[in-house]
């Protein structure tokens, strides 16, 4: 090959390398930016006075006097809107029956929309569900609800061959000639004085329990459940994995049985996680009965089995990477085999073993399928350490799925779902970062 071609090949390979790294970086941006951007809206948003009422009533948080002042201030503006409703009701009762019937349904819709926007009317009966006790706690949602109050969505079915199109009809037009017509511009103009929005940082999203199945409140039980499950899985899998790796590298004799074990281990690493989930249900809960119901323990054991092959493989590689001279020196000084393994080989292999372990920890934190049947529930409170043996727990991965598909108000609480995704990604990222730092520190120590 002449020099020219070689240079050309070399350059094109470099270009290819840089190109793929750039593409990877861009993909990462495309994935991470929306996660971070949407996730942050769960913590930082324009909160209304309803949000502050909620915080005070449910968590006793916030300044009571200031809140009282705000409630009085907003109620003064709201009461005018309610007065307009009352006035119209009087007006309606004096109409003839045909007209009453015409307005009744439309008026009910207006009342419902106003209730969704501002919460139940003071003095009226208080709903039992927390979700109906408050108006819109977020300004962005309030603006959507305002639109629903001002305009009615209708569908144009006139063309029988084409798909119907939606269009919006102003509700105020429907009340032309009555006193209620004033309500719509009044609410539109004064909404910010009714709800008093201000930029809020809601750290409680991370540390609070959820209220009324995730419609309000935070995600602490989920975060804690995720951490419990991941750490529990490590407690089982890490010692077992390291011991197995020591056996494979130091004690096992090469032979049919050993290679069978190794390939079994590799196969296990490729088994889909849902299989582990079903296995965990059948084996740990139904056969061994490690707990009466789903529990953190059963979930951890299942996750442990899932990550065990990865830990064994990485520990094996790390042990094999320890230079032969270490071993020979130790044995040459008269040390026993066991002593050599514990005092020389394992410490030298520790950075590699730990890296594998922490990466598996991240995987355990993010898996959904193994915990569906063994540990996860859609609603539950944060559990204590004493409860891990018999209590199931909510967990981030499973609750993200639950909020995305099964939750009855899924489309109303997307921000909670985004917040959970960000929390999960952050946990996994932090774990991986700590792996890198740990590794660096330990190898520095070993060299010094």
């Amino acid at each position: 090959m002449n020099l020219g071609t070689r240079k050309l090949l070399d350059r094109s390979f470099t270009a290819l390398g840089i190109g793929s790294i750039v593409i990877m970086g861009m993909m990462l941006l495309v994935v991470l930016v929306p996660i971070v951007f949407n996730g942050v809206t769960a913590n930082v948003f324009r909160g209304t006075v309803e949000h502050r009422k909620l915080l005070y009533n449910e968590f006793r948080r916030g300044d009571k006097a200031e809140l009282q002042r705000e409630i009085v201030e907003s109620d003064a503006v709201r009461s005018k809107a309610y007065a307009m409703l009352d006035q119209f009701e009087v007006e309606m009762s004096s109409m003839d029956e045909a007209k009453q019937a015409e307005y009744q349904d439309k008026y009910r819709q207006v009342k419902e929309s106003l209730k969704a926007l501002l919460g139940p009317r003071p003095g009226g009966d208080i709903p039992e569900l927390t979700r109906y006790k408050y108006g819109q706690t977020r300004w962005s949602k309030a603006e959507e609800k305002l639109h629903e109050l001002l305009y009615e969505k209708q569908w144009d079915y006139s063309n029988p061959d084409a798909e119907a199109k939606e269009y919006f009809v102003s509700r105020s037009a429907g009340f032309q000639g009555t006193s209620l017509v004033k309500l719509f511009p009044y609410v539109e103009e004064n909404l910010d004085r009714m709800l008093l929005p201000e930029w809020t940082i809601y750290w409680g999203f991370i540390t609070d329990s959820s209220i009324d199945s995730h419609i309000f409140g935070g995600i602490w039980p989920e975060i804690q459940g995720t951490i419990f499950l991941a750490i529990g899985a490590m407690l089982f899998a890490f010692p077992l994995g390291v011991i197995a790796a020591v056996y494979f590298t130091e004690y096992a004799r090469e032979g049919f049985f050993n290679s069978l074990l190794r390939s079994a281990n590799s196969t296990l690493a490729g088994v889909p996680s849902i299989v582990f989930g079903l296995f965990g249900l059948a084996f740990f809960i139904n056969t061994l009965k490690v707990s009466e119901s789903k529990s953190v323990l059963a979930g951890s054991l299942t996750l442990a089995i899932m990550i065990l092959p990865t830990i064994i493989r990485s520990a094996e590689e790390a042990i094999l990477a320890v230079p032969k001279t270490y071993r020979e020196a130790s044995l040459g000084l008269g040390s026993t085999k066991w002593n050599t393994i514990v005092t020389v080989i394992l410490p030298a292999a520790l950075p590699g073993i730990l890296t594998g372990g922490v990466i598996s920890l991240g995987r355990a934190a993010g898996e959904t399928a193994p915990i569906i049947f063994t540990a996860a529930v859609s609603v539950g409170s944060a559990i204590g350490l004493a409860d891990v043996f018999n209590s199931p727990t909510p967990a981030l991965s499973w609750n993200i799925y639950n909020l995305a598909s099964e939750h009855e108000a899924a489309s109303e609480i997307r921000h909670v779902q985004y917040g959970m995704v960000l929390a999960l990604v952050t946990i996994v990222l932090l774990l991986n970062m700590s792996a890198i730092i740990l590794r660096a520190r330990i190898s520095k120590k070993l060299k010094g």
């Binding site: 609603v379 409170s381 639950n402 598909s405 099964e406 009855e408 899924a410 489309s411």
Partner: protein, 273 residues
């Protein structure tokens, strides 16, 4: 070793934090089962925990799984949107479990379509025809000229069983072309995003993103379900092992209390008591 000590301290601090929000341990209720009953169960759980301090956990994995959990004694209460089948009762008896039926609420099985669909009313025979694959275009039942996308629930679902029993009957299999979704919420989301779709969900899941059809000219609402004029009505259950006692009994009796009744009707289901 220093590093190890740091680990231990970290774990200890975390443990303390965790046990700080542990509630009165020992007393807890584990619920599993129907995604239709799920919203009621979750709201009851929140109410019950607030009132008594007892921890209640709720899983929504489908009526069939709820029954299995009760049979395997892995839950205290099985939420079900259909009565237990004979073979499930036999399996339970075989394992020494005595399932007791407790009605929670009434529900209408709402047939939902995309709001852009001009169809407002279908007869039971038409619905059956659609799901058997006899009608494949909306124009055959008075709608726009567009293919029908049928959506059903998985075999584990009580809602699916109710639909088969109330609409299809024994000898009319559901067409193979029907798409399957795993929960009420998933069906609602699918229908809300698919103009030609039809699906069925519990009444509590209907909101303004989808349109609930009149069946045989009757609108599904609290009144028509309660008095039985809406043809697709059914009861929702919570099964217990033996007659409920203690905290489970307290929980099971929530639908009879004033607060319980309000919770059920605010979610959109219909009171039985």
């Amino acid at each position: 070793m220093k590093l190890f000590k740091k680990f231990v301290y970290g774990a200890a601090v975390f443990g303390l934090m965790a046990s700080a929000d542990a509630m009165a341990a020992g007393n807890k209720i584990v619920m599993d089962g129907s995604t239709t009953v799920g919203p009621i169960a979750k709201a009851f759980a929140a109410h019950f925990t607030k009132a008594t301090g007892v921890q209640v956990t709720v899983s929504e994995s489908g009526s069939g799984n709820g029954a299995k959990s009760l049979i395997n004694k892995t839950c205290d209460i099985a939420d079900m949107s259909r009565p237990m089948k004979d073979n499930e009762i036999a399996a339970a008896k075989g394992k020494g479990v005595n399932p007791v039926e407790n009605v929670v609420a009434l529900d209408g099985l709402a047939l939902i379509v995309h709001p852009s669909n001009r169809i407002n009313n279908l007869s039971k025979a038409q619905i059956r025809g659609i799901y058997m694959g006899r009608f494949t275009n909306w124009s055959q039942v008075g709608g726009p000229n567009a293919p029908i996308v049928m959506i059903q629930r998985e075999s584990n679902s009580g809602t699916q069983d109710s639909f088969k029993e109330l609409v299809m009957g024994k000898d009319n299999p559901i067409s193979q072309r029907t798409e399957t979704q795993a929960s009420n919420g998933a069906i609602k989301t699918r229908v809300a995003s698919t103009p030609n779709a039809i699906g069925f969900v519990g009444l509590g899941f209907v909101d303004n993103s989808v349109k609930a059809l009149l069946v045989d000219g009757v609108e599904p609402d609290a009144k028509t379900v309660k008095n039985g004029t809406y043809p697709l009505h059914r009861a929702l259950f919570m099964y217990t092992n033996g007659q409920p006692t203690g905290i489970v009994k307290q929980f099971i009796e929530l639908p009879k209390s004033a607060e319980g009744k309000r919770i059920i009707s605010e979610i959109g289901f219909i009171n039985y008591y």
